[in-house]
């Protein structure tokens, strides 16, 4: 997140002028980003109206009530309990889907950046296109393909891999992971492309001149140089995946593949025990903040290793 800071403009007298430009946006974010976070905390740490079961937020931090958090944490740290099962499942799905995405995204980004040549324009259109096709439409396309009488079953039976149509859309982890990879991989390819495209080719030529094979040049020059981009790509797709509930809902719909996002959706929009949902959101945020912190530390380390 650090950019090279450019020289300053004007002096202290202009500072209020520039702050004035930022004011509407900053006020907007205070009202619709920071305040809502405080409200989540006050509801997670509030009480529930005994008659109507509606949440009663507790605005005073001195009177916060931790029962919703205790409920969430207990379920999270008891083996076999509901939230732990769901959280472990989410973590496994996200890890597998992210790893598969990287295996797909890196070679594609590498090819387009290095060997795109006169096809680069066409290839870039192909890489950008998914950004303009709604995620939900892309899931709808797979619902069509994975139906009992859909084309996936047709092809697999024709190829002799399956004897009878398989029910792909009924609680299969493989379908959910396929959906996650299909949905998120474009968001990993573009940043990887941008970084790989910036790598100075003379470094690779130097490696080759010094006797490295193409593979060695890739492994010892390109790969270490692209480490920050790989980490960034992982963060870019892993964070939203942790909050995903629509992919499992559409491609499985079964509690067997329920993710942490499904639980949040259930508690918040289902209307029962909203404080539990709010506490789950806070726990998810804390977990993702730790992941982000780890990312920032590793990026800093990778940059230092490259001597920047």
């Amino acid at each position: 997140m650090s950019e090279p800071e450019r020289a300053d403009v004007g002096g202290g007298s202009d500072n209020a002028f520039w702050a004035g430009f930022a004011l509407p946006g900053v006020a907007w974010l205070c009202l619709f980003f920071l305040l809502p976070f405080y409200v989540i905390l006050c509801i997670a740490l509030g009480t529930v109206d005994p008659i109507f079961q509606t949440p009663a937020p507790e605005w005073n931090p001195l009177r916060w009530n931790t029962s919703a958090f205790e409920f969430v944490l207990e379920s999270l740290f008891t083996s076999g309990a509901a939230f732990q099962t769901v959280f472990v499942r989410t973590f496994v799905y996200v890890t597998i889907a992210t790893a598969l995405s990287l295996v797909i995204a890196y070679p594609v980004a590498y090819y387009v950046a290095r060997y795109g040549g006169r096809w680069k324009g066409v290839l870039l259109v192909g890489l950008i296109a998914p950004f303009f096709i709604s995620y939900l439409m892309r899931m709808l396309a797979w619902i069509n393909l994975l139906q009992d009488d859909g084309w996936v079953n047709d092809v697999l039976i024709w190829a002799g891999i399956l004897n009878a149509p398989r029910n792909w859309l009924d609680g299969r982890a493989s379908s959910v992971i396929l959906g996650l990879v299909y949905g998120y991989v474009p968001f990993m390819i573009l940043p990887l492309y941008a970084f790989l495209d910036r790598i100075d080719r003379s470094l690779l030529e130097a490696a080759r001149d010094l006797g490295a094979s193409p593979f060695q040049a890739f492994r010892r020059v390109t790969l270490p140089l692209s480490m920050p981009a790989i980490l960034a790509g992982i963060v870019i797709i892993a964070l939203p995946m942790f909050g995903d509930y629509y992919t499992p809902d559409l491609l499985s719909g079964s509690p067997q593949t329920s993710m942490i996002g499904n639980q949040i959706n259930l508690y918040i929009r289902g209307g029962q025990q909203i404080p539990v949902g709010a506490a789950l959101v806070v726990v998810l945020m804390l977990f993702l903040t730790v992941l982000m912190g780890y990312y920032l530390v590793s990026t800093a380390r990778a940059q230092r290793r490259l001597g920047r």
Binding site: M1, E3, P4, A7, V9, G10, D14, W18, A19, F21, A22, P24, G25, V26, W28, L29, F32, F33, P36, V39, I40, I43, P107, Y111, K120, G121, L123, L124, I128, P130, F132, I133, S134, Y135, L136, M137, L140, A141, I143, N144, Q147, D148, D149, L169, Y182, V185, P186, P191, Y193, D197, P214, V235, P240, G243, N265, I268, A278, V281, L284, L288
Partner: protein
């Protein structure tokens, strides 16, 4: 085997494995969409097999087509309405924020920058929950529905405008404004006459990105919806994706895709033109593809 190795180590040849891999990826990424569009033109009711060609699910069917089923056509209108509001509000708000946060030095600037970037890494479900609860418990004068959804879209996409415009501002540097000031322009005139014209390409680009984000948004829109009359196309696909009895949903998705691509392509052509007029060189597609990458440096 020797021949294979020979090809592999030929430093001037394109690596064939990568060519094949990239081609397969593109096929895998595009074909499902084309198949979904194909089924939208089905004559029959199937969403999983090809059954002739017709416009039945777009306009022909008197009850169930996109044109005649109010549930489907309102979703498309609501998507477009929200995207228009989001672009009109987010772009000016974000451009001002970018100018302010890039030039403003002093107490509060660093914190404001950190808060803005925090929205970038906040998952949508967290922001959706936060906004839903704030509209129910604190800002109760804002009713769920179009206004709340628009506020959600603006809050979520603001940071993208910030990042795109800020990247351009850092590339331009302060020299042009300084020159304008030296020639007697006031601070405001320097921004209006020297800075803004140079920012036009970045402003158009961020407009395209905000439009795409708003059209694509699902979680925040669903959390802040007040009922089926404020459902957008993605929300409609979510609620009917598994149960829809006809390809009308495919027709709705295909129509939305067509409109999105048409608007984005028009805006892209405009962007390329203003870019060229401002003397920016290099591939426009390449620059567009790498816009977002600066957000994570």
């Amino acid at each position: 085997m020797t021949r294979l190795r020979g090809r592999w180590s030929n430093p001037w040849g394109k690596p064939r494995f990568l060519v094949l891999f990239t081609a397969l990826y593109l096929v895998w990424s595009i074909v499902p969409i084309l198949v979904a569009i194909r089924f939208s033109f089905n004559e029959g009711r199937s969403r999983s097999t090809a059954q002739g060609w017709s416009l039945r699910w777009y306009s022909g069917d008197p009850d169930l087509s996109v044109l005649h089923d109010p549930g489907l056509s309102t979703a498309l209108l609501q998507s477009l309405r929200l995207a228009a509001i989001a672009v009109l509000v987010t772009v000016p708000l974000g451009v001002a924020l970018a100018i302010g946060l890039t030039r403003w030095r002093g107490r509060g600037a660093g914190t404001s920058r950190a808060v803005s970037l925090a929205t970038l890494v906040t998952p949508e479900i967290v922001m959706g929950t936060a906004l839903l609860l704030v509209f129910i418990h604190v800002l109760t004068f804002i009713k769920l529905g179009t206004v709340a959804q628009a506020i959600g879209h603006i809050t979520f996409s603001l940071v993208f405008v910030l990042v795109i415009v800020r990247g351009r501002l850092l590339a331009i540097g302060p020299e042009y404004e300084e020159a304008a000031r030296d020639l007697g322009a006031s601070a405001l005139q320097a921004v209006r006459l020297a800075l803004l014209p140079m920012l036009v390409p970045a402003i158009v680009a961020s407009g395209i990105v905000v439009f795409a984000i708003s059209m694509d948004d699902f979680v925040i829109t669903q959390f802040l919806s007040s009922g089926t009359n404020t459902d957008t196309v993605p929300v409609r696909i979510y609620s009917q994706g598994r149960t829809a009895p006809t390809p009308a949903l495919n027709a709705l998705a295909a129509l939305t895709l067509g409109i999105t691509i048409a608007i984005a392509a028009l805006a892209f052509v405009l962007w390329r033109a203003v870019r060229a007029a401002r003397g920016q060189t290099g591939s426009a597609l390449h620059e567009f593809a790498t816009l977002d990458a600066d957000t994570i440096r």
